[in-house]
């Protein structure tokens, strides 16, 4: 806590010395939104489809497709060796068909996966309209991420979960997210790094995402090959099969 307070104080002093106003949560988020393409553009995003490849180590590569639709719908497809597994949440619950082992039946998704899905269900990310969404965002200091100065934002989600978002102080791009997940009965701290940011029809997206779990040697890397803004995605794509309640 002391560390956080002192880094904020130092940042304030540094800004005072240069005459610029000290950064606040609102100014950091505002710059971040502007860098992403602006609030109007982001709010205009109703559906999103991203296609890419996931690399989980040498010789392990899969085709991935992620579809999001307001409000709170996510569909994730993972294709490996011609078999496509589907993982869907409708905003409240999740279900999956993962026929990799010949099991074609529909199953409820694990709690861990649902937790992952729920965080992704916010198509624009938690920092956009965070007050209206009931989240709490605090400026928790500055850190060096990949050799660059970044603002560290502590985001306490309305759901109760906590994550840290790092916003590059110069580009205002989101460069990292940290969160802790309960996996296999153990808390695992995960760092998700974002790189190769590019504009797609006026909205900024990272094209390379790397997820590293604390203490694990092999990060998961996702390379996004294509992004479609507001494609037609039927609600049927997210419809929960009958009998799964």
């Amino acid at each position: 806590m002391c560390g956080v307070a002192s880094s904020i104080a130092l940042a304030a002093l540094a800004m005072a010395a240069t005459g610029a106003p000290p950064p606040t949560v609102d100014s950091v988020v505002s710059d971040y939104i502007a860098a992403r393409g602006g609030l109007a553009k982001i709010r205009s995003l109703q559906t999103l489809r991203q296609k890419g490849h996931a690399f989980a180590g040498p010789g392990r590569e899969a085709v991935v497709v992620r579809e999001l639709k307001r409000p709170g719908k996510v569909r994730f497809e993972f294709t490996h060796q011609g078999i496509t597994g589907v993982y869907v949440t409708d905003g409240t619950k999740g279900w999956q068909v993962a026929p990799f082992h010949g099991d074609a039946s529909v199953h409820p998704m694990s709690e861990d996966a649902v937790a992952d899905a729920m965080e992704q269900a916010d198509i624009e990310g938690p920092l956009i309209d965070w007050k209206a969404k009931g989240h709490v965002v605090e400026l928790a200091g500055r850190e060096t991420i990949g050799g660059h100065d970044a603002f560290k934002l502590k985001v306490t989600l309305k759901s109760g979960g906590t994550r840290f978002d790092y916003i590059d102080a110069k580009t205002h791009y989101e460069v990292r997210t940290e969160m802790t997940r309960e996996i296999g009965g153990r808390p695992v701290r995960m760092e998700t790094s974002f790189a190769d940011h590019r504009m797609t029809n006026g909205i900024l997206f990272p094209r390379t995402i790397e997820v590293a779990a604390a203490g694990r040697p092999n990060p998961l890397r996702i390379v996004v090959d294509s992004i479609e803004l507001n494609p037609t995605i039927s609600d049927e794509r997210f419809k929960r099969p009958a009998g799964l309640d």
């Binding site: 085709v63 993982y87 992952d116 899905a117 995960m190 997820v211 590293a212």
Partner: protein, 229 residues
């Protein structure tokens, strides 16, 4: 010609390339090798998967990536390093890891030190040598705990947490046993079953942590794709 012959063994030549759409979600793309009124079996290139017909929504006949792979491979000579590399990359892009490995194997026959091919075969470079991931992890000081590679410090934390959890569970179990001694035998049987399942689930199978982009797949699928042909 020899290459083509090898491929015929690797991928049985079938009349059609099909996509089997499952009810509610998911699909399997490959070649149907058997279809009855009650089930369908599909060769996906790395193995055969079967589904009961009551789970199948529809079947679409069409050309699949396996056909393309076979066509392209048949046109390559055994020494065509660039061609096999390009085909290996293409197969990997299609998610056809078994075919990618087949192509990269041809590359390694020409150039045993090719970086892309070695990586595709699951090897990593350590001090100038190509070694397995496991060997590289050990050399870099990682340890395997509960089926996962991690730093010794992480393993220690996990071990301590598990010991505490086990102690707590044991204490709770003893209390329950005291309250219901007559149910002890049944309780132990359930515990043994749970341990067996836990041990089974601890087999190392490459955990995946998505952390905010993608979800659902918690371990790298080792089904037909990782199976034997």
């Amino acid at each position: 010609m020899r290459t083509l012959a090898a491929l015929v063994v690797l991928i049985p030549t079938l009349a059609a390339a099909d996509q089997v759409f499952l009810k509610d979600a998911g699909s399997v793309e490959g070649r149907i090798v058997e279809q009855t009124a009650t089930s369908v079996k599909v060769d996906v290139g790395g193995g055969i998967v079967g589904f009961p017909m009551d789970r199948v929504d529809r079947i679409v006949k069409g050309r699949c990536a396996l056909d393309d792979y076979e066509d392209r491979a048949s046109k390559l000579g055994p020494k065509d390093l660039a061609g096999w590399k390009k085909l290996g990359r293409w197969a990997a892009d299609q998610g056809l890891s078994a075919q990618a490995k087949h192509a990269y194997k041809q590359v390694l026959k020409v150039d045993p030190n090719d970086a892309d091919a070695n990586a595709a075969m699951g090897l990593v470079q350590l001090d100038g040598k190509w070694v397995t991931e496991e060997e590289s992890y050990r050399a870099r000081g990682y340890v395997q705990y509960d089926g996962e590679w991690m730093t010794p410090a992480e393993a220690q934390i996990a071990q301590t947490r598990e010991a505490n959890d086990r102690a707590r569970r044991d204490a709770e179990q003893r209390a329950r046993d005291a309250e219901a001694a007559t149910r002890e035998a049944e309780s132990r049987a359930k515990e043994a079953e749970a341990r067996a399942k836990e041990a089974e689930s601890r087999q190392y199978n490459y955990p995946m942590y998505w952390g905010g982009w993608g979800y659902g797949v918690s371990t790298w699928p080792a089904g037909p794709a990782g199976g034997k042909r």
